[in-house]
Every structure is written in structure tokens, then in C-alpha cells.
Amino acid sequence: MNWLRLARLLVIGLVVMLPGVSFAGGSPSPAGAKEAEVSEPTGDQPPAVSAAVPLPYVYTEWRHFTTEDGLPDDHIFAVKVDGPRVWIGTENGLACYDKRTGQMRVWKEEDGLPWRVITAIDVDKRTGDVWLGLFGGGLARFSGGRFEHFHQLNSGLVNDVVYGVAVENDHVWAATTAGASRLNLKTGQWTIFTEKNAPMEEIWNYAVHYRDGKVHLAVWGSGVLEFDVATERWQVYLDPDREMEIDLYRDDGIIHVITTGANYVDGILWVSSYFGLSRYDGRHWRGFYAHETGMPSDFTNSLAARSGQECYFAHDKGLGVVAHFDSDTYVSYTRDPKTLRGKAAVFRGGRKLLELDLERTIPHNFCISASVDETDVWVGTSKGVGWGIGKGYYAGVRENPEWLVEYNRRSQAQQLSAAVVPQATATE
């Protein structure tokens, strides 16, 4: 054993003996930064973990946005990161936050927004056009400061209740409550997909996503439908047991046919539902349940995948992350309803490794939407938007990561002033 290792263990010993303190958003505050590891947990306390345990990136710095910060409404249905711009769809208007300037712009019906409730947003990377799914108002294109409105009576949109929108090359797809519609931007031609021309057992489309030549539709009661853009062929993913009240076998397919989201990244398909989560690598399925992973809940409103290894899930009880699939590592972000402080917990193999007490994480536990870019995560909730600032973000897992070192350093500083011991540690 070298001196470094010995010193590390000494630190761990100190931490285990003393109550914790944690910080977030740059300002330390007294609370419990809890240790973690591979010993059995006692009650709610996580076991101890050493700094040598590879850990995923944990967002310890968050910002919140509500109506006090200029949002038109706190009930957030959609959020979409577009470079430095973040588009936010609320129950009463559209907002755009500019990360560079910190300015929030807002559009409401009186500003030309065709309908107040925005449930889906996608951005055409080539033109910068913003496509909005309007809940009961159809579809809108926001281009050059002007809204263009598509609805059942002036277009081929199959229904005005739009849950999802996705730009696919020269097409825009809309997932509606009565089927999917596809607009060809070159020709203006609309195509409607329902049970009549697509393998939809039900037509209640809930989400649509495009990437790498495949469009995925998450359909309530019809699982996930995959449309190959090159061949125009459909592939259907259903729950193999075909029963609503059970999930028969582990990892045999999607967990349930009532799906709410599907993202395809790096050849991996991620699926969310109100019953749990699924991942498909083209050969093997994997199901994820809260009681096995430590994620906040099985009830999942939507998802945002960053890679084939990492996906963010908007649950009704917090934000869950499959942080690194290969190492079976998860992160759960919640907000304490009493103290309103944030909590982040890291789990591996069903065990809690680490729990951080933070000044803030997500603004509300009821998460409805999420969006990620290379480093940051944005979460739309029942009461505001949360921005997880990914300073020093890394993919996968690392030993003694910078965020943990920084967390402990700042906690210690806080502790010195508060005469309470801080720190979180990690070892294996």
C-alpha cells in the first residue's frame, strides 16, 4: 500500500466518522454529503465508497428558471437545446433562453403564437426553423420572427393535438393523438400514417424522434414503430407477453406497449413508458425498473438520450439517468419537498454508492421533458426549468472525478466556517 492510498483511507475514515456537509451551485451549505460503497446499506444510509470507485459525471451545479425569471408559465411541457439557445414550451407560451447573454425572450398568442400550449419542439439544423407541436392547436413553424400555422383544416395534419415533432431531412413529422403526419418541406406534400397504412395497433402517437436514418414513433398501446427512411419500411417493437398487467420475462422486449418516448442514438434505442424503461442494441433488450436501479420512478413522461451509454428520463418523482450502461450505473436527481434542497444519488448494480446534498438540482420532482447537448442537461418540470451545468462533463465513469474533488473541497471550506464536517468520498 502506498502513502497516497493510505492517506485516502484516512480521509475516508474521517468522513465516515463525521456528519457530512455538501454544497451546490457554488455556495456550500450545511447538510449531509453521504458516502457510498459496496458494503451493505443501513436503512436509508448508503454504504461507504472509496475515491477509487469509478463514478459517472454528476451535475452539482444547477440553475432554475420560473416566471420570476421571465418564463411565460411554470408548467413546462417541452424543452429543446439548440446550440446556445434553449427553446422552452410552456402551458402558456414559448420562451427562448440565450446561454450567452442570459436573456429570455417570450412569445405568447398576442405575439403571433398560434396557440398557447406547446408540447413539442424541434429545430431544423439547416435552416434554424423552430417547429412547435401545439397541444390542440396543430403545428407551427417559427422562422424569421414569424409563425406559420398548420392545422387540420389547412393542411394534412391528421389531428391538432400534437404530442411530438421531429425534423427528418426534408420532412417534418408530427406525432398526434390520431396518427402521425409527415410534411415534405420541398413539395409541401403531407403523408398521414394511421392503422390503415402503418403497423399501428393503436393510433395514439405520443412522441417522434429522428436520427441516423430512422424515425421512431412511441405510440400508446402500440409500443415503438421504427420507420427506415431509406427503405420506407416499418419495424414494430411490442411487449412480447402482450399482457397489460404484467411484464413476464426480464429483458425480452419493451416493458409495456404504453410508451411515451423513444430516442435512437449510436445504434441504441432507448424507450420510456409509464411502467419502466427499455434499451435495445439491435440484438438484446434490457429493461430498467426503479426498484432495481435506484432511479426515482417507473412512471416516465419522456426521455433524452445523449449516447448509447447515457440517457436522461423525466419521471414523475425526479430525473433519472442511465449514466453509464456498461457499468450498470445510474444517477437520480430529486428535490427535497421540505427543505427544497437538491439531492443527487449514484447507484450501481442496485446499490446506492453516493448521495450528495446540494443546494439545488431539479426545480420540481415532477419532470415532464428533458434535453441534452454535449455537456449540459435541461429539464422541464411541473414548476419551472432546470439547467444542469456540465462544467467538466465527461462521458462514462472515472475514479476520483473532478466534480467530487471540487464538491469536497467546497464542502470542507463550508464546514470549516460552519464547524461541521463536509465531504463525500468514493472508494471500492
Binding site: F135, V161, A178, W220, E243, M244, I246
Partner: protein
């Protein structure tokens, strides 16, 4: 006069601890103010009112060991312990809605109604939107009567303002129900919605309701999958096709010992999902359905379907579809010399079925979500009031809509004008709501878990029989093995820990 609502509010606040409303209680309409909250309900209400936008009421959720009283021998894949069982734990709402204050500027308390009232004809979809308007109008009658009676008793007791029913037609075309719900929620600002009958439209309704966070009560959709979506905003006050199918299957096989049962159903969602538990239950009890034939809604010639059923040598036929279709199929069956017993879904209890079937109706057995012949003073008084109002007897859809609307009105009177709290008091009410259709015990998934019946048409009248009267084992006995298995498993898991 302008101060009257404030006086009512003040009086209401004084009595809020124990009583909802003032005046003399009506024992035949116990849901109307004034009524006293039970101690348990008071605790629930206190907890609901104590939380802020970030908190969730700490009320123990309902938990059941067996979903929907599924008899052990019709449980799917019963020889395998599934990876996960759903619908056993009560769904919760974790959003911020409870913190929204009651609005000050309203003159009425609006409640939405969506039902099939007027069929529309569309060239685009090639025909009539539905033929369920008979049921929809009955549903509207029941809902209207409930609203009128509540208003006669002072309306919304906290403000002394009337309830208002905002009526929308569910025409079943192109998902138009979704647009109607949006309109009701955002333009009309309703506090809850009653609807609908068709399974597809009702699914659309609750999907929107979940997003908007609006309580939805279904009094006419018996599609089992309605509540199998895990939506905490969806409620149902009528027993579903799953429950009715379980009783029917029990009767067909445990009681009558039939061996070869055929199915004739409508080729729509109602027929497809309605027979699912009959098909599965038959197979699981070792008597697989010999043939399942579908017909287009409004069919007048069933010869193809019936010929196939005849060839299958079925010894009984189960029909799932609308009453006119069912009656025409029955008549054609008898005309073809097919004298097998005819069983049907609850829709065929409608007078239309008997009118069209004529003497062929004799001996037909239908599933029923309730027993309208109960000698229950609450029901008898309701029948009188209904006859006085509409000059006809209430039937299934009217009675259940009356109950469903009264459940919503009761919840509004108790919770106040907050959609999340209206949801909460319905979901967490400790005792069953007792309506004109009988007690309505809500399951963990907010579904009516009450008893269902079989009705036999004898001597020109439907006669209703409970499970006990049919000589069938009680539901509790049929799920006991599953309960014991669950207890043993939990005990083994506890020992392992």
C-alpha cells in the same frame, strides 16, 4: 345581495371541519350537501390541504395483491412468476397542481361532458362516425339530472354559485375528442370531465387529461385498457368488460360446463377488446374458443360469420357488439336453425335488443355491470326522479352517468376548485361512494371494483343474478390461491433478506 356568496363562504368555513354545506341532509341523496365527512376523510382532506407546490400528501396508497379480482385459473401465464406485476399499487400525482389557488372570478362551476350525442357523416372517412348516440343521450340525461339536483341544493356550496354542464359531442372522427378536451380545459376552464363511451375516444380523452391535469370520469366505457394506462387522473364508475368477462367465463364453464364456445363480435375496438378476457379466460380454463368471427358495425347479413360458427359445432355463442347488431345476428341465427344458447355483452340489455329480437330474446343471457332491480331506497327514489324528469326509466348509461357526475360534484364540494385536489379526494376516499348503481369501490387504479351480474331474459323481462345467486364461488374464493402464493413469496423474500 352581492354579499350572499361571502356569507355562504363564511358559514362554510365555520362548518368546514365536519360538514360540507348547510341545511338538512337528504338520506336518499347522501352525496348532496349537507353531508358530514367521516373522520378518515377529514384526515385525507387535511393532508391534501397541508401540502405546498413541492410536496405530496402523505396518504398510504391503496395496495392490492391481485389485480382486478382475476381468478387464479385465468391469470395470464399463471405457472410463471412474472418479472413485474402492474396495477397493484395506487397511482400518485406528484405535480405542483395542488398549490393553485381557487379562482375568484367565476360565476359558475363548469364540468365538461363528452359523449356520442349526434352521429356525423364524413366523406373523408366514408361513413357515419358511430351509432352510439342512444347510449350517449342516456348518459347525458343522467349527467344533467345530477347537475340540476346539485343546483337545486344551492350549487357549489362554498360560493353559492351554480354548476354548469358544458356539453360536447364525441363524434369519433379523426380524434376530434382530443380537440374537444382542449377546448373544455383551456377555453371553458372546466374542473373535471365526464365521458365517454367509445374506448378509442375515451383513451384520447385521458391522454389529454393527463397532460392538462384534469380529472376524467368514465361512466360508459367498459374497455379494460382504459385504466390500464397508469394515469392518475382517470377514474371509472362502471365495472369493465374484464369483470363481466370473468363472470361470464365462470358461468359458461364452471356452471354450464360448456366445451365449445364461439364468439361473434363487432369489428371495432369495443368488440375486439371486449372479448379479449373471454378468449383468454376460455383458453386458460382449457376450453379454447372454437371460432371468433367479426362483423362490420351495422351489419344486416351475418351469414358468413354464422355459417363458420355452425361449422365449428359450437355449443354456445357469445356476442360482443351493439344491441341492434346483436339482435339481428340472433334472429338470423335462429332462422338458420342454430339453437345454441346466446350470451352477450351488457350493451344488449338495451330495449332495442329485445324489440328487434322479439321472441328470440327469450333465454338470452347478458353480462351486466349492475343490478337495476335492487330494492334499494336510493335507487328507487332515483328511478322516480328520473321518470319525473325524462318520462322514462333510467338504464345502465343514465344511471352510471348520474353516479359518475355525482362523484365529481361530491369531490368538488369536498376539495374546492382545484383539479389536483378534486383528483385526490376521489382517489383517496377511504370508503366506497354509494350511488344509485350501488357501492362503487375504486381499485388501486381508480376503477370500479364492484360486483357484476348476469341478466337472463325470461317472460319478457330481464332478471338479474349475482355470482352467489348463480351458484358460483365468490370472487374472494377464486383469488385466494393467488393471495396465498403472494403471501408465501413475500414471506420467503423477507426471510431471505
Amino acid at each position: 345581495m352581492g354579499n350572499v356568496p361571502w356569507i355562504v363562504l363564511f358559514v362554510g368555513m365555520i362548518f368546514q371541519a365536519d360538514w360540507i354545506g348547510t341545511g338538512t341532509p337528504d338520506p336518499l341523496r347522501p352525496w348532496l350537501p349537507p353531508f358530514q365527512l367521516t373522520e378518515e376523510m377529514k384526515k385525507v382532506l387535511e393532508e391534501i390541504n397541508s401540502v405546498n407546490a413541492y410536496q405530496v400528501p402523505q396518504i398510504p396508497p391503496k395496495r392490492v395483491a391481485v389485480y382486478a379480482y382475476t381468478p387464479v385459473d385465468v391469470v395470464p401465464f399463471r405457472h410463471v412468476e412474472p418479472q413485474r406485476r402492474f396495477f397493484l399499487d395506487q397511482m400518485e400525482y406528484w405535480g405542483a397542481g395542488r398549490a393553485k389557488p381557487e379562482p375568484e372570478d367565476i360565476k359558475t362551476v363548469k364540468i365538461g361532458f363528452i359523449g356520442p350525442l349526434i352521429p356525423t357523416v364524413s366523406v373523408a372517412v366514408g361513413g357515419q362516425s358511430h351509432n352510439e348516440e342512444r347510449m350517449g343521450i342516456k348518459m347525458l340525461q343522467g349527467a344533467k339530472l345530477a347537475i340540476e339536483e346539485a343546483n337545486e341544493r344551492g350549487g357549489y356550496w362554498r360560493r353559492g354559485i351554480p354548476f354548469e354542464l358544458v356539453i360536447r359531442n364525441d363524434n369519433g372522427l379523426w380524434g376530434s375528442t382530443g380537440n374537444e378536451v382542449i377546448d373544455l380545459a383551456y377555453r371553458e376552464k372546466v374542473w373535471a370531465i365526464l365521458g365517454s363511451i367509445d374506448g378509442a375516444n375515451t383513451h384520447i380523452l385521458i391522454r389529454v387529461g393527463l397532460k392538462i391535469e384534469l380529472p376524467m370520469m368514465s361512466s360508459g366505457d367498459t374497455d379494460p385498457t382504459y385504466i390500464e394506462t397508469n394515469i392518475p387522473w382517470a377514474f371509472r364508475c362502471i365495472s369493465d368488460d374484464r369483470q363481466m368477462a370473468y363472470l361470464l367465463v365462470d358461468y359458461l364453464y364452471r356452471k354450464l360446463d360448456l366445451k365449445r364456445v364461439a364468439i361473434l363480435r363487432s369489428s371495432n375496438r369495443y368488440g375486439r377488446f371486449g372479448v379479449r378476457e373471454v378468449v383468454d379466460g376460455s383458453r386458460r380454463m382449457g376450453r379454447p374458443i372454437v371460432v371468433e368471427m367479426a362483423y362490420p358495425v351495422g351489419c344486416h347479413d351475418f351469414s358468413i360469420q354464422l355459417e363458420r360458427i355452425r361449422q365449428s359445432k359450437a355449443d354456445a355463442v357469445v356476442h360482443w357488439g351493439n344491441p341492434d347488431d346483436g339482435a339481428r345476428a340472433l334472429n338470423q341465427m335462429r332462422a338458420m336453425g342454430m339453437n345454441q344458447p346466446f350470451f352477450a355483452c351488457d350493451r344488449c340489455l338495451a330495449p332495442e335488443f329485445v324489440e328487434i329480437a322479439g321472441p328470440n330474446a327469450e333465454g338470452v343471457i347478458c353480462a351486466s355491470p349492475w343490478n337495476p332491480d335492487r330494492e334499494d331506497p336510493i335507487l328507487l327514489a332515483f328511478k322516480e326522479r328520473f321518470r319525473a324528469r325524462f318520462n322514462e326509466d333510467p338504464e345502465t348509461y343514465a344511471a352510471h352517468a348520474y353516479d359518475g357526475m355525482n362523484m365529481l360534484l361530491w369531490a368538488i364540494q369536498v376539495a374546492g376548485l382545484n383539479r389536483a385536489k378534486i383528483r385526490d379526494v376521489l382517489a383517496y376516499r377511504p370508503d366506497p361512494f354509494v350511488g344509485v348503481t350501488g357501492p362503487i369501490p375504486l381499485s388501486a387504479v381508480n376503477d370500479d371494483d364492484g360486483e357484476v351480474y348476469l341478466a337472463k331474459f325470461i317472460g319478457g323481462k330481464w332478471h338479474y343474478y349475482s355470482r352467489a345467486e348463480l351458484g358460483l364461488p365468490p370472487r374472494e374464493a377464486l383469488i385466494r390461491p393467488a393471495l396465498e402464493q403472494t403471501a408465501a413469496r413475500q414471506s420467503a423474500e423477507a426471510a431471505g433478506r
